[in-house]
Each structure stands twice: as structure tokens, then as C-alpha cells.
């Protein structure tokens, strides 16, 4: 089973890296960019086929390590 965990900064948290990317896109002349927020994507392969177990394990992984919930949110997406 494959899964994707996406970690993003909570709204209101200053994102200097996102701001720098935003500035670079503007200076490249890419049209219509209003703002950029940077995040992380983890592609994870799971052994076993129990969906509920996989979701629980991924939640555990995100809470314990992948995200720092002081500043970050995460979303879990299981793929068939």
C-alpha cells in the first residue's frame, strides 16, 4: 500500500522560505503568483493491506516525527 503525507505550515506562521520563492517567481516574470507557502511531501510504502492499521500508523508517524504540530499541519492520503 502506498501513502502520501503532506506537511504544511499552519496559517499565520511566517514562512521566510516561501517568501523567498515567491520573490524569485516574481522576478522570473511568472504571472499571477499572489503568494507561496512551502511544505514537505513524504511518499511512504506500507507493508500489509489493512487500511485502518495503515492510517493509524501514518498518524502515529506524523504526530511523532514527520510534523512538528507547534507550527505544522499534516494530511494523510492513502492510495490503493
Amino acid at each position: 500500500m502506498k501513502a502520501r503525507v503532506t506537511v504544511t505550515l499552519k496559517s499565520g506562521i511566517l514562512d521566510p522560505q516561501g517568501k523567498a520563492i515567491e520573490g524569485a517567481l516574481k522576478s522570473l516574470g511568472v504571472d499571477g503568483v499572489a503568494s507561496v507557502r512551502q511544505g514537505k511531501v513524504f511518499d511512504i510504502e506500507l507493508s500489509g493491506s489493512d487500511k485502518a492499521k495503515a492510517e493509524a500508523a501514518l498518524k502515529d508517524a506524523a504526530d511523532k516525527l514527520l510534523a512538528n504540530t507547534v507550527i505544522e499541519n499534516y494530511a494523510i492520503e492513502l492510495k490503493a
Binding site: I13, L14, P16, A20, K64, L65, L66, N68, V70
Partner: protein, 233 residues
């Protein structure tokens, strides 16, 4: 003072720290590998040194904070033992939950490596008793992620409870946006936990302890710890 310095892969300031501790206390510090599950018997002070543990992968300090030795450090802190985290050590203590908040990328995105001034906010902590309240000291910083952040309530609480021990300031002690080198909330350079026995700070006091270093302002922190432990003994 019996000190234990934690060693993680990628840490590079452990020897500077050992030298400063030896100078202040006369004792050699024990080096404790991250895979250990216990601290040496009779440890008075645990130091989490600076460097780039695990290459700063994922988030600074995130992986080191989950190392086996950190459970022993949590127990040690819970029983009132003194813990000092410097630079990457501060990041590790935040990631491990021993201190609130997190160190974010410096607001101007640049790695900052130079001397800065710190205002010592109070002198009645084991980590500041070698200084006077309001004293300005000069110590080096070397970090890319030192921008302290926490939710508004946590920052207010740190302030209210007098848990900010060191703030970035100008040479004459003025705390403002200009002297706040990395954009840290409330110009925070160092904070303690609720109980006051765990300090995390971004600057490196261990690098200003001998005349050859050009400044000895960092000595007070270590001398204060030694004095505190002697009084407690």
C-alpha cells in the same frame, strides 16, 4: 560538577563545550553517545551541544530528539537535574518537548556567524547567577535556524513567568528590531522550562571563555552553574 555531553552524529561543538566545562569545574566531562539508555551515575549537568545532528534532516534537531538517550535526559530533567542546550542543542530540546516552541529559519534566510550581544534578564537562575541582571555580554552565534517561535500564549507565558533569561540586544543593552538578529519572538536568545532547570540558548557561551578567544564573557554561565551546584551540595 560532573557533566555529561550528549554526542549525536553530526554534532561538532562537543569539544569546545568539554573545554569550557573543564575550565570552569576542573572536571573532565563524560561524552555520552546517543544510543546510550542511561547517563553516567552522579551526573550534575547534561549538555546538548551545538552542531548539525543528522545533517539537520527533516527539521533541525528533530531526529536527535527521538534518540534513545533522550528518554534518560527527560527522566533526569523531571527529577530536577540541570540540562543546558546550546544552538543545535536548543533545537533538540524544543523538538524533544523539554522546552516549548521551535527554532525557525532566520527571518533574513542567512546563516549568521558572528559575535552578538545578549542582555542577561535575571541573575537568580542556575544558568545566570554568574552575571548581574541587566548585564550585557558578548558571545558568538553560528546558526541558520535560530528564529524562536511559539504560539502567542506561550510567548506571553514565558515573558510573564520570567523564563526568558537571555535576549539579543545592542552593545549598550537595547533590545529592539535592529539587534534582533534572527527575528526571534521577543528577541529571545535563551529560555528555561517551567521548573527552571532546563535552558536552551542559540549563542555559544563556550566559545568565549579564554583570553585567546578574544573575550571571556561566556565564563559567567559556567562559573554560575558550578557555584549553584556547590551551594546545593
Amino acid at each position: 560538577m560532573k557533566s555529561a555531553i550528549l554526542v549525536f552524529p553530526g554534532i561538532n561543538r562537543e569539544r569546545d563545550m568539554a573545554r569550557a566545562l573543564k575550565l570552569a569545574s576542573g572536571n573532565e566531562a563524560a561524552m555520552v553517545w546517543h544510543a546510550e539508555t542511561a547517563l553516567p551515575k552522579g551526573t550534575d549537568l547534561v549538555v546538548v551541544p551545538g552542531g548539525f545532528s543528522y545533517g539537520d534532516y527533516l527539521r533541525c534537531g528533530a531526529i536527535a530528539a527521538r534518540a534513545p538517550v533522550m528518554d534518560a535526559v527527560r527522566d533526569f530533567a523531571a527529577s530536577g537535574g540541570l540540562v543546558l542546550g546550546v544552538c543545535n542543542g536548543f533545537q533538540i530540546l524544543c523538538e524533544s518537548g523539554l522546552l516549548p516552541g521551535i527554532l525557525m529559519r532566520n527571518s533574513k534566510l542567512k546563516f549568521i556567524c558572528r559575535d552578538v550581544h545578549l542582555r542577561v534578564e535575571r541573575s537568580d537562575s542556575p544558568f545566570t547567577r554568574g552575571y548581574n541582571a541587566g548585564q550585557v555580554i558578548r558571545v558568538p552565534v553560528a546558526h541558520g535556524e535560530g528564529n524562536y517561535a511559539a504560539d502567542e500564549e506561550t510567548v506571553k507565558r514565558l515573558q510573564r513567568e520570567g523564563r526568558v533569561l537571555y535576549r539579543y540586544c545592542s552593545a549598550d543593552g537595547v533590545v529592539d528590531d535592529t539587534s534582533n538578529i534572527n527575528g526571534a519572538a521577543q528577541s529571545i536568545a535563551g529560555i528555561v522550562n517551567e521548573r527552571g532547570n532546563v535552558l536552551g540558548m542559540m549563542p555559544h557561551p563556550e566559545n568565549h571563555v579564554e583570553d585567546i578567544m578574544g573575550c571571556t564573557d561566556g565564563r559567567g554561565l559556567f562559573a554560575g552553574l558550578v557555584a549553584h551546584l556547590e551551594k546545593a551540595a
